[in-house]
C-alpha cells in the first residue's frame, strides 16, 4: 500500500489502523460468573467489547490492554493475562 500525499485518507482510518499492537496484557473473558451487567462494554475506553447470547469478548485488533474491564467487572469474571509471543 503506497502512502498518500500528506497521509490524506477517507473516513474510517481508526478502523483500518490496527492499534492493538502495543498491548502488554490482554483481557480473558471467562464467561463463568458473568451477570451480564454490561459494565465492561460501557467502560471500555476503546468501545470494543461486545457480547452475543453465549459470551462477552473484546476486539483484540484495537484492545490496548488497559485492564479497566477487568478492574470494573463486579464479579471478577475478566482476567488480564500476559501477551506472549
Amino acid at each position: 500500500m503506497e502512502l498518500t500525499l500528506g497521509l490524506v485518507a477517507g473516513p474510517g482510518t481508526s478502523r483500518a489502523n490496527k492499534t492493538g499492537t502495543w498491548r502488554v496484557e490482554r483481557p480473558l473473558f471467562l464467561n463463568i460468573k458473568c451477570v451480564a451487567c454490561d459494565l465492561c462494554i460501557m467502560l471500555c475506553p476503546e468501545g470494543i467489547i461486545d457480547s452475543n447470547n453465549e459470551r462477552y469478548f473484546a476486539d483484540l485488533n484495537y484492545c490496548k490492554g488497559c485492564g479497566i474491564c477487568a478492574h470494573e467487572c463486579p464479579v471478577k469474571d475478566i482476567m488480564m493475562v500476559k501477551e506472549e509471543k
Binding site: 500528506g6 490524506v8 489502523n17 492499534t19
Partner: protein
Amino acid sequence: MEKLWEGSRAIAETIKMCRPKVISAYPITPQTHIVESLSQLAADGDLVAEFINVESEHSAASVVLGASATGARTYTATTSQGLLLMLEVLYNIAGMRLPVVMTCANRAVSAPLSIWNDQQDSFTARDSGWIQLYAEDSQEACDLHLMAYRIAEDKRIMLPVMVCLDGFFISHTFEPVEPFEEENVKQFLPDYQPLHYLTPKNPLTFGSFAEPDKYTEARYIIHRTLEESKMVIRETAEDFKKVFGRGGGDLVEDYFLEDADFAFVAMGSIIGSLKDLVDKLREKGEKVGILKIISFRPFPGKEITTALEGIEKIAVLEKAVSLGSGGILVKEVKESFYGRKKTPQINGFIVGLGGRDIPQDSLENIYREFHQGSGDASFVDLNYELLGGK
C-alpha cells in the same frame, strides 16, 4: 513605475496580487503593518478574501491549516514569540502537505524581551518541513512571496513556504519597489488547484495516524520532496525572470566570487551591508566576495560548495545561535565541505542579535582579522563590561 513603499506595504500589495482566499493573523511587532494593510484591503473590498481575526498565533496557523485543507489559497504572517506559538501547527501544515505561504518578519526571541531583529525565530522552525527563503531587501521579499505560492502549490512539492525578512530593516524601511502587473501575476501564478480538499460531501482525514511501520516513510517522503524542491525553486526563479525581467530567487546568489580568496556567507538584509564593504575592499584590490543564501531549507549544500570552490577562507555570518552548540548556519556550511580533499577554513560569526547594530567597522574587522590568520569564530563585538570583565 517604481513605488516608494514601506516594506510591509509592499508585501501586502504583493499578497493582494497573489489572491489568497483566506488570511488569518494575529498582530505582533514587526509584522503588524503587513496584516494591518491586508485587513484594510479586505475591508475596503480591494481584496476578495476572508480575513479571520483570531486570539493567538496558534489559532492563526490553525485557521490557515484548515482553510488550506478546504482547497483555498491562504496566507499568514508572524514573528518571534508568535512563530514559537505557531510551531506545533507549522509541523502539522508541512506534514499534511498544505501549500500555506507565510511571512516571518524576523525578530529576536524572549527572554530577555526584545522586539528587534535577528533570525533566531525562523531558525527554530528549520526542521519543520517548511521551505524557508530569506530576502535581502523589499523587492526581493516581494518577488519571493510570489514565487513562494508557485513553489508551494507545485504538484511535485505541495509543501508550505515561509518567506523570511528582517524585521524593521525590511518591514519598516521605505524602499523603491517595482509593483506587480495583475496580468503578469495571473500568468505566473494561476489559481490554486488542490489535489484533495475537504468538503462535507467527501469527508477526509489529513495527516492520519501512522504506526511505526509507516511513520519513517512518511517523514522520508517530506525530506526527499524538500531535496527535490531545489530543482523547482530554480525553475520557478528562471520562469520569474522570464515573466518579470528581473532576477533573484535562486537558491544562492554570488557577488564577486569568481576570483575571490575570501568570502562572506550570510542571509537576509545583512547582505546589503556586506555588499557595501566588498565594493570598498574591491576598490583597494582585495579579492573578497559574498555568497548570499536565499534558501535555507532546502539547504543548498552542493550549490554552496560549487560557488565557493577554490576560496581559502569563508566567514559565515549569522543572526542566530543554538544555545549550547553555537552557530547553526556555519555548521551546515562546514558539513557541506566535509569529506573533500581540500577544504577551506570556515569560521562562524554571530552578529546582530536582538537588533544589535552591525557597523561597517565590525564587518571590516571580521575580514581583516580572519584574512590575516587569526579571527576567532564567536560572538562579535561582545561588551565585556556587561559581563563583569570575563
